[in-house]
């Protein structure tokens, strides 16, 4: 039972932006610590390790992980259930019956909006499941579909 639906390929762009921002943040931290190591004569290997990590981080954060993440992300919304599959190293698969869905909402951060994307958040009584980065129209359709289906298969909590 392979899942069919994939999230928008534009998600890659958004993840690259967020990846870059994360890299910049860790770089600031790393550089601060590196300056401190020089100033206070801490062991040189701290400097070395931080330097190497900061150099390879962008490759993983901006290039590799977004691609793998995108490839691993699958979902399927059927009339009676929602199935989500994700995870690069550990593959996680979640199954939520429609009858458990309490409400659905779409949300957009600034980056998602830039690329006309939206994520769909599906809440049950206990948990929230998120499908990130779908095309705006697709997200809206999905949202109303789930909302419609969830009210058809009505059951108590």
């Amino acid at each position: 039972m392979e899942l069919q639906q994939q999230i928008s390929k534009k998600a890659l762009k958004v993840w690259r932006i967020t990846g870059t921002i994360e890299c910049l943040i860790t770089w600031v931290i790393a550089i601060t610590v590196m300056i401190l190591t020089i100033k206070f004569d801490w062991p040189y290997w701290i400097f070395l390790i931080l330097g190497v990590l900061s150099l390879v981080q962008p490759y993983f954060w901006i290039y590799l992980f977004p691609i793998l993440k995108w490839r691993c992300w699958r979902y399927d919304v059927r009339e009676t259930e929602i199935e989500i599959q994700r995870g690069i190293f550990i593959m996680r698969r979640t199954l939520v019956p429609m009858a458990r869905v309490q409400h659905v909402e779409t949300s957009q951060g600034p980056f998602l909006r830039k690329y006309h994307l939206a994520s769909v958040e599906i809440s049950t009584a206990a948990t929230v499941h998120i499908i990130p980065a779908l095309d705006l129209q697709e997200a809206d359709e999905l949202r109303s579909f789930i909302s419609k289906m969830a009210s058809v298969v009505e059951e108590d909590v």
Binding site: M91, R92, L95, T127, A150, V157
Partner: protein, 482 residues
Amino acid sequence: MSRPKRLHPVAIIFNMAKDVKELLFPFVIALIIPGKSIGLAGYIQWMIAGVVCIFFITLAVLKWIRFTYKVEHGELKIESGIFFRKNRYIRFERIHSIDVSEGIIQRLFGLVKVSIETAGGTQAEAVLSAIRKEEAVRLNEQLLEAKRNKTVVELEFREEQSPNKMTTLVYKQTFLELFLMSATSGAVGVILSGMAAFASQFDEMIPFERVFGSSKVMLELGIYVLIGLACIGIILVYIVAIIMMMLKYADFTVEKIGDELVISRGLFEKRQLTIPLKKVQGIRIVESIIRQPLGFATVYLEYAGGSLAEKESLKVMLFPLIKKKKLQENLERFIPNYLSDLSLNHLPSRAYSRYVFRKWLYYAPVIVACIYFLSPWGYTTLLLLPIGCGWAYLQYREVGWNITGSQLTIRSRFVSKQTLLVHKNKIQSIKSSTSWIQNRKQLTTISALVKSGVTFREGEIKDVDAKDFTRIHVWFLTKKSS
């Protein structure tokens, strides 16, 4: 009624109040700490304060502009957010209650605040902080109309059940059970460690000198006497702990009145909790390492309700201590349809090495560090390896799952053995997660999630056969097979 509507502009004040409340503290500190700056520095300080104020006002206004709501197709649609746009849809059937309240400011303008609550969640799902009274009335009417059909059905259901209200079942804990429960509870450990912490804080204040005369006498008493004293101390603490637990759980009674369970306990401080049966999401049976060999278990109720403010209401004991043999019989009397004596599907033998591996993974850094820094004594930590094997075996042997009718049983073990019994129609979601090592061995970690208290309870088994997940998956999706 399908045009999006805004709140009354007074809501801007509420938005502001909310933002300011969150940031008031840092703001005040920023103004006060630098003291009275004179000249340019002073101007800058006040300029920053002004900018912050303007920022808050703009933010509040923008929030108000961006916040719209409308009623459409039996849904309440709320759009909000300045940077993060949020479209929130709440179906009327899901709304449990609408709470209408008036604050002082609202009253000045003839407005009301409407909080909309749905099932679950710790706070109101949506708050319309300022709308006109007539508007609130209309909203309420629409809601009632949408819910009317459902409400009628529910009322009829109630009436049908009312004759049952008379029948009462009672479970009372015996004194022996109460004693055994208190004696085997972990509370002793908690109190002991608390005492130890206390003693280490105040050892200078406790008059050892006066008690023992002088340290010379203490030495003369010899080490055995000291050990003896320590033992007596521990036993005393143990007895105190037992008595405290006994007082807390004295008179433990479960009554079944109609379709509600009433659980009460306590001698001086009485506590009572009423739980409608239909709110019960599952049953959890815990066998601690001390109680398991004695054949006892503790039974908890997982139910959708309770509040964060009252911690006691989140962890509900149905039977504090019960003989495993009598469990099924008692369970049936109070909560029908739960089976506790099912034989489980255990793990495939290739899973055992994974359990050992996981234990060793945690021990390895400890062992390496101990050998490196505490040589030669550090080598004793190598004993952790066989201990890990043994512990892993205990876990591997006990965990398992079972499907019978619409009930799923999941047993896991960390130290205590935990068995979660849930019915298909109460499971919120099921999950599997597979690492690449697991994938190679055709194993997977499965879990099922039910609502419990204000969050959830998750039953998880590591390293079951990958085919088992498919079986649970299929079972979960098949409708009503009981």
